[in-house]
């Protein structure tokens, strides 16, 4: 089996799983989840094989694994689509396959496979537990299995298929196809528990905001295609094609052709990776089940956005304005999201905002040209963010045990202030969550987070982007602070509520993925250690060599500089220390200083958007088009015509039909004919001689007439 065919086959198993589950096995839960997990395993194995083969190839960048096929006849040429694995693709493929496999495994446990059916669980609502009588006749409620269990795995399969196509595709179009499938799956999975109105609203919100971004991306793709005539990366990133793109002047904000295309594609990513203007959907997306949040809203989908920008980096880097825009949006989102994360109480919302800020970091890195750093941070972030989310999932799962145990459903299992002291109840979750947290906040030397964030800060410093450096450092400090806040509130200290006391550790299917991911959260960092770190030549910076190869000209290694290192150390450790110190004795939301309403309500962006966009649109559709245009104008016209025609018809009937035709012509004519008949009747006297006389008279008259009319020609 050549690598190319193998690459073609990677996305296939999840798609097959989706169809199998939907069409055949959705009745049997065990069969469905085994099909799903099996598909994930297959894709994972294929990816690993491809990955290690890619590692084995020298200078993969010059001659990546490529296979393309004629798909659409466009006149005399064919539009070609295909698959390609270059160093960047291989790296991303590696982390995507692992995370997808872990999430499939995790979902089995999360949806309480093997638990009894819920007493009054309805499809579309989260399971409310089932009352079970054990051998001693005690009645106690146990978490019930998810009613729509196989449906969840089907959607996951579809989502995996979307992600894989995006990663392996060698052109923008199939990438966009994968992009759209993931958008659909995010809608389906966020709105998984469609019974809850908030879930439904969140799904629609997610779908609409990403949709806005996708439109601009499509514009970009169209413009690119019209300009170059092809969408395959290899053909676009040739030297003369790029020059050609730069030479085009779209007369738009002084951007060059390449710049405009890059900007349009970047706006797509802003939507997808929830950057600043279009970030509102990600926190609401937490409505979905935790594996969804983990997979979609931490590891794969949002990183897909960044992957797209990295892929298009050679195009973006041509235009300075676009780079500045990207950098600005990245840095601003980082600091902005970090400030909000500090004020959140829901354990998943904190992580959501931290994801947004970390993505901001990557986009900022790309903005300042740190291509390899961004890629490296993308991969490491995927690992530890997935770990954190799954950890929070198991914490919530434990808390649900407590809620079911106490039966008091008013306690929100996700609110951190209801937890506390869970390290004793859930040790594995506690340790893995701790590793994740330290990776996120960039605990020096040990965690992967440190290396990737340090890379970015080093690049920022090296290339003189001081403003970016300072804001990113501040953002890093706040990240460390709210991470520590989260850890202390949930795990350290004493349990603040009875439910917290009864929380139990989650089953193995949930804790094993946590452990695997924590290994990567630490191990993967060492891959990227720069050669000249402290000029100790600790490691040959494989990552830099490997991923850098994708670009045409290899990015040069930045010289070692102690200042960014020191700053990152200070920031990381300071944030952690302060967080722990402050939140040790904070036991309720009111005592928390940082519960500033502004931050708590996410700078009122949702309300702003509601007012600025949604209300006018609703108003536009509801009031304007419906009320005025549709009902007022069109119906008005019809209503006008209806009675008008009725009126006209009535008029015609009344005056023309009745009066004229019936009376005047109908009866009138009849009367006239009768009258003439009566007057003419006496002529028929029966006397034959009178007839003769009459005919003679007429003959004479006509004769005379003819004679005179025809002239005396006779």
């Amino acid at each position: 089996m050549t690598t190319e065919t193998l690459i073609w086959l990677i996305p296939l198993p999840p798609a097959l799983a989706f169809f199998l589950i939907v069409l055949f096995t959705n009745k049997n839960k065990a069969l469905s989840h085994s099909v799903g997990v099996g598909a994930a395993v297959l894709s994972w194995l294929a990816s690993m094989v491809v990955f290690f083969r890619a590692l084995g190839v020298e200078h993969l960048g010059e001659h990546p694994f490529v296979s393309s096929v004629n798909w659409l006849p466009t006149g005399d040429t064919w539009f070609k689509i295909g698959v390609a694995i270059d160093p960047l693709g291989a790296a991303v493929l590696f982390f995507v396959s692992i995370t997808i496999f872990m999430i499939f495994l995790y979902s089995v446990g999360y949806h309480n496979f093997g638990q009894p059916k819920g007493d009054h669980d309805r499809a579309g609502l989260p399971p409310h537990g089932a009352t079970v009588t054990d051998e001693q006749g005690h009645k106690h409620t146990v978490p019930s299995v998810e009613p729509m269990y196989s449906r969840f795995f089907a959607f996951l399969g579809l989502f995996a298929f979307g992600m894989y196509t995006l990663v392996v595709s060698d052109n923008l179009l199939t990438m966009f196809v994968g992009w759209e499938i993931m958008g659909l799956c995010s809608y389906l999975l966020i709105g998984f528990w469609y019974g809850k109105p908030s879930a439904r609203a969140a799904a629609i919100k997610a779908f609409m905001t990403t949709r806005i971004g996708d439109v601009f991306m499509l514009l970009g793709i169209a413009f690119l295609y019209s300009a170059t005539g092809t969408l395959t990366f290899r053909e676009i990133f040739t030297e003369e094609m790029l020059q050609h793109l730069v030479s085009i002047d779209p007369h738009f904000l002084g951007l060059t052709g390449a710049g405009l295309i890059g900007l349009l594609l970047f706006i797509g990513t802003v939507g997808k990776s929830a950057q600043w203007p279009l970030h509102v959907w990600l926190p609401d997306a937490m409505e979905g089940p935790t594996p969804v949040s983990a997979m979609i809203h931490a590891a794969t989908m949002v990183s897909a956005g960044v992957y797209a920008v990295i892929r298009m980096f050679p195009l973006l880097s041509l235009d300075h304005n676009t780079m500045t825009v990207v950098a600005f949006i990245g840095t601003f989102t980082a600091i902005f999201a970090a400030t909000i994360a500090v004020a959140q109480n829901d354990i998943k919302r904190v992580l959501a905002y931290s994801t947004i800020s970390q993505l901001g970091f990557m986009i900022a890195a790309l903005g300042i040209g740190a291509y390899v750093a961004a890629a490296f941070h993308l991969i490491t972030h995927a690992f530890f963010k997935a770990l954190l989310f799954l950890g929070s999932g198991s914490v919530i799962h434990g808390m649900e045990h407590g809620v079911l145990h106490t039966g008091n459903h008013s306690v929100d299992p996700q609110d951190m202030f209801n937890m506390g002291g869970l390290r004793k109840k859930m040790p594995i979750t506690f340790w893995t969550f701790l590793i994740g947290g330290f990776a996120l906040s960039g605990f020096p030397l040990l965690t992967a987070g440190f290396w990737s964030k340090d890379e970015i800060l080093a690049d920022a410093w090296a290339n003189g982007h001081l403003v970016v450096f300072v804001t990113l450092a501040l953002a890093a400090f706040m990240t460390a602070f709210y991470t520590m806040r989260q850890i202390t509130l949930t795990f350290l200290g004493e349990p603040r509520t009875k439910e917290a006391e009864h929380a139990q550790e989650t089953p193995w299917t949930m804790t094993v993925p946590l452990m695997v991911l924590s290994v990567f959260a630490i191990g993967y960092g060492w891959v990227g250690i720069p050669e000249n770190f402290l000029n100790l030549q600790l490691a040959p910076s494989w990552f830099h060599e490997f991923v850098g190869g994708t670009l045409a000209e290899h990015p040069e290694v930045i010289p070692f500089n102690p200042i960014p290192l020191i700053v990152s150390l200070v920031v990381a450790l300071g944030g952690l220390l302060l967080g722990w110190l402050y939140y040790r004795n904070v036991n309720s939301a009111k005592e928390d200083f940082f519960q500033i309403p502004l931050l708590k309500n996410k700078y009122y962006f949702d309300e702003a958007y509601q007012v600025v966009f949604i209300k006018p649109v609703i108003w536009l559709s509801e009031v304007f088009t419906y009320k005025w245009l549709d009902q007022g104008l069109i119906d008005g016209i019809l209503h006008f015509f209806g009675p008008a025609t009725g009126g006209i018809g009535g008029f015609i009937r009344q005056y023309i039909d009745l009066k004229v035709i019936n009376e005047f012509i109908g009866d009138g004519l009849a009367a006239v004919t009768q009258e003439t008949g009566r007057t003419l009747r006496p002529i028929q006297t029966g006397r034959i001689q009178q007839y003769m006389m009459l005919s003679l008279v007429i003959l004479a008259v006509v004769g005379a007439l003819l004679y005179f009319m025809l002239g005396a020609g006779l």
């Binding site: 009747r681 028929q684 006297t685 029966g686 006397r687 034959i688 001689q689 003769m692 006389m693 003679l696």
Partner: protein, 102 residues
């Protein structure tokens, strides 16, 4: 010699007398008499036109003979009708034979 006009005028005179007879007489049989006069006038015309035209072309005379036949048929049927009306209505006066009055 006699010009053609004399014959035609003579025939016209006979014709109008016949016409007067037809229109004015009360007795149905008398009406038929009038008709006979008119037919004779026509015959005179035919003979005159034969004589004053190409004599070898006998069409005029043939027409005259046919008119004889027609006149004979007409009188036969006419008088038969009058007789049958007389026998059923006991009147021959034209004005009283107005059964076809409306």
């Amino acid at each position: 010699m006699i010009p053609l006009s004399w014959y035609l005028i003579f025939a016209a005179g006979l014709f109008s007398l016949g016409l007067f007879g037809v229109l004015a007489r009360r007795n149905a049989v008398a009406i038929l008499l009038g008709v006979e006069l008119m037919l004779n006038a026509v015959n005179i015309n035919l003979a005159a036109f034969w004589r004053y035209g190409n004599v070898t072309d006998m069409t005029g005379q043939v027409f005259a003979i046919i008119v004889f036949a027609v006149a004979a048929a007409e009188v036969a049927v006419g008088l038969a009708l009058v007789i049958s009306v007389y026998r059923s209505r006991n009147t021959v006066v034209a004005d009283e034979i107005d059964m076809l009055k409306w």
